[in-house]
Amino acid sequence: MYPSRFRYEAPRTLDEALALLAEHGDEAKILAGGQSLVPMMKLRFAAPGVLVDINGLEGLGHHEETPGGGMRVGALCRHVDLEHSTVLPGAQPTMAAAAPLVADPIVRTRGTLVGSLCHADPQGDWASVMLALGGSVVATSARGRRTIPVGEFVVGTFQNALEYDEIAVEAVVPAAQGARSGSYLKLERRVGDFATAGVAVALESVGEEVVRAGIALTGVGPATIAATEAAQTLVGSRLDPDVVDRAADLAAAVARPRTDHRGTADYKRHVVATFVRRILTAERAPAGAAA
């Protein structure tokens, strides 16, 4: 399979890349990891007239902590960088749990977190993780720079909030209000398959009390789903069993799965509830006992 013909540009600076986007408008598409875009171009689901390859740009490969438990992830930070990160396990448990579950090991070599957010596939793991963490995308254009919360950035199936002349240069996680905990669980029939269901939970606690919570769902609806009520019910709690059950039920209630060869809608809702319960129960267990 071949993509349709396109013009290829490999700018050396962000300004050059932005100028190309400004010039070509909706004909242009950014190529970062290309692990979703290239397959889509081969299948002719996407046929950009101009491909702007940003892999030659400097200064976008970073992922680093910011003061107060925040995180910045550059547009060329690959999944594999996050999977083998020495920073994430201590600083960002939900991200650390998700990184080895994204796609497969070979795809993780090239694919990027920011690209995954831009692709806005309801099956995308990072959109759930970033939504649970209350993260944002930083978009840059010749007109300036803006920060878009992930909840507003992913506007629908394969749809993001970028303007044609903007590049998503970074994803950011805000500072934490307490100690971070949480995880990401995904059920897939085999590595690299679309998820049957995935659940991201991000907690911030002071002592045993949860002061902020985020829960988001992968692959069980037309877009990434924020389980806002489920998360809200955890705030102020100590993750007692009745609270955990309530959160699990509320999360399952906002899932919008479809029955397909990966399972019935009821089954997928059950998986969502089970994953929420499993993550929260492990968080409540004393450190070291979480299995």
Binding site: Y2, R5, R7, Y8, V38, P39, D104, I106
Partner: protein, 168 residues
């Protein structure tokens, strides 16, 4: 110099790229939409790189790109401009096989052989990162490469064989 001829049509824009393939500098004139797998197979006649699913699933087309494993059906040839690519032809020589290749022979790590080049390059990358992987780590590390003969048992043994040889 090896040139990849663009399809016979007028005014097809091409780009001159220089790629180091298996240690050798190669220059090619390519259409931007040419996939890296096709540059290797058709342009450079390195047919050890197999195209299996053509949809980023199977990993048969895995090559090393600046040392990291990539699915060459999911990269453009132009993206390799100025970079290094290693295919199975560059993994070892007939007189001096890579330990991974020796391991696949010793443990019968292949049945039909179609997935083998990709498997071996993924295994090479795994061992470069983790010289002493457990069985679980091997299975996890090769989970982006599919064997339709389902010969995984011996593939895992082959990689362990290579790890043990390299530890000597």
């Amino acid at each position: 110099m090896t040139a990849t001829e663009p399809v016979a049509e007028t005014e097809v824009p091409t780009r001159r790229i220089t790629v180091t393939v298996n240690g050798e500098r190669r220059v090619a004139e390519v259409e931007p939409r040419l996939l890296l797998a096709h540059l290797l197979r058709q342009g450079l006649a390195l047919t050890g790189t197999h195209v299996g699913c053509d949809t980023t699933n199977c990993g048969a087309c895995t090559v090393l790109y600046d040392g990291a494993p990539v699915k060459s059906c999911t990269m453009l040839a132009v993206q390799a401009d100025g970079h290094e690519v290693t295919t199975v032809e560059g993994l070892g020589t007939p007189s001096e096989l890579d330990p991974v290749q020796e391991g696949f022979a010793a443990e019968h790590g292949l049945q039909c052989g179609f997935c083998t080049p990709g498997m071996m390059l993924a295994a090479r990358a795994l061992l470069n990162r983790n010289p002493d992987p457990s069985e679980d780590e091997i299975r996890w590390g090769l989970s982006g490469n599919l064997c339709r003969c389902t010969g995984y048992q011996n593939i895992v043994k082959a990689v362990r064989w290579a790890a043990e040889k390299e530890a000597q």
